[in-house]
Amino acid sequence: MPYIILIICLAAFSAIQLMVGNLPVRFFAFPLNLILALIWAFGIVTLWRSKRKSAFVRFMLSKGATLCAVSLFLVFCLIIGITGVRTITQSWPFAFVLLYFQSVLLFVILRGWRTPSATGSGEIRWRFILNHCGILLAVSAAFWGAPDSETLRIRAIRDVPVNEAYRMDGSMTMLDYRIELKDFRMDVYENGTPLMYEASLLIDGVPADLRVNKPYSRSVGEDIYLTGYNADDSSACILQVVREPWKYAAVAGIVMMLTGALLLFVAGPRKRYVEEE
């Protein structure tokens, strides 16, 4: 039965997709995304604490729910990988799969963060916590943080302070600060391919040197990147402003996953595997 409900949900979200098109991501911008994320997390914790025996919670904690969550995520990634259609990530069914994936993860974390014991105070399972919470944080930061993420392009011109920036859809916006190109240097290999390019800028009067792999952090969650140049014209270059206020949660998740992976390498499979053979 739960699988039928899961299929019905997927079908319903696919129908919504067909009727209204992609998810209006920007609509969920702060603070709505944060409010919804808190309601979602609070809802799951409440269900775990007070409705543990309900059919819904039992399903979310079943083998099948976990395997479905990983498989559905895998299937969607395969579709994106084969078709190359990145906008699938903004579709309703994909958003549903990600929400389901996160929900199963949170239920599993609540149940499994320490070994079961009669007294209720079992051993804390560090590897399990690091791996599962790490994935949950990284996926949640990407999922709930998407509406607040913004990428802008700006053409910096030598000795002219500018603040006109362009969104990815081509619409224009004004930055609340000005960027001025002071110098642009470029080294090339003998065959003409670029070895290094670097721009010296004044960002609201503050000097900053930008290179590829060396962005400038302007404020919390906002970084400026040197992304393009014109080989024949060193009087201008293309910069990219990336606003990603949820990036700190993503980094925390990534660091937890890296530590969890280290423990995966050090400790190897659970003993039970070997005993089963």
Partner: protein, 276 residues
Amino acid sequence: MLRRNDMGFWNSFIWFGISAVILSLIGAVLSVCTNEHLAGLSQANRRRRALAVFFASSALVVMATFIVLLWIDLERPPLRTMGETRLWYSFFALFAGLFTYLRWRYRWILSFSTVLATVFIMINIFRPEIHDQTLMPALQSPWFIPHVTVYMFSYSFLGCAFLLALAGLFSSKDNVMSAADTLVYIGMAFLTFGMLSGALWAKEAWGHYWNWDPKETWALVTWLAYMLYIHLRLLGSGSRKALCLLLIFCFICLQMCWWGVNYLPTAQDSVHIYNR
């Protein structure tokens, strides 16, 4: 474009490659000839095992020497082109085989890893990639070396797991699945290091941790497929045959991520193709 005789030290790869294959092959034959059930008893078996380890290690040293000399010759880490990543893969495949042999004494594994390494060494001998010394600005980062080497390390362990899965389809006696599990855990740990170091690097170079670039998407597909395998094993689901087939599917995804993606029409706008 450079002609083959312009490729400097790369030209001597044929000698290093063939030496490594021969040494590894001797090690593989010796290990197959060792009767493990008598290993603790027979002096001759112990000697054969020690010799197998010696020859397998020598093959590893030959490959390592070539990589170091090529690195010095190119004046940059040899990690950029497909040919260079195949070099690391051959090296780590030999390493993973030796590791598995030392750890579990699984006597066929050196033959598997020799076959795996030989295939990639032969491709590099017969179809060398164009090797030039240029390194585009995005690749000039401290993330470059760890990102690629951990991936190659992971691929070679997962390659051994794939070979065990193939063996597991036809044989049921050895404890193939538990050896495959350990290899998958090691491979998955390094796959995670590779994927996440890539995400951190992408943020630094292009501004976003994840951009659903074809290469990134296939990396995630591979990672999720192995995660599915690990969870099936943890939860005790799936028949032996289904699990072996899943491991084979995982390895196909891995090959898509490594080089197959370059041939997809969707990859033409990928930021991850450096050798066209």
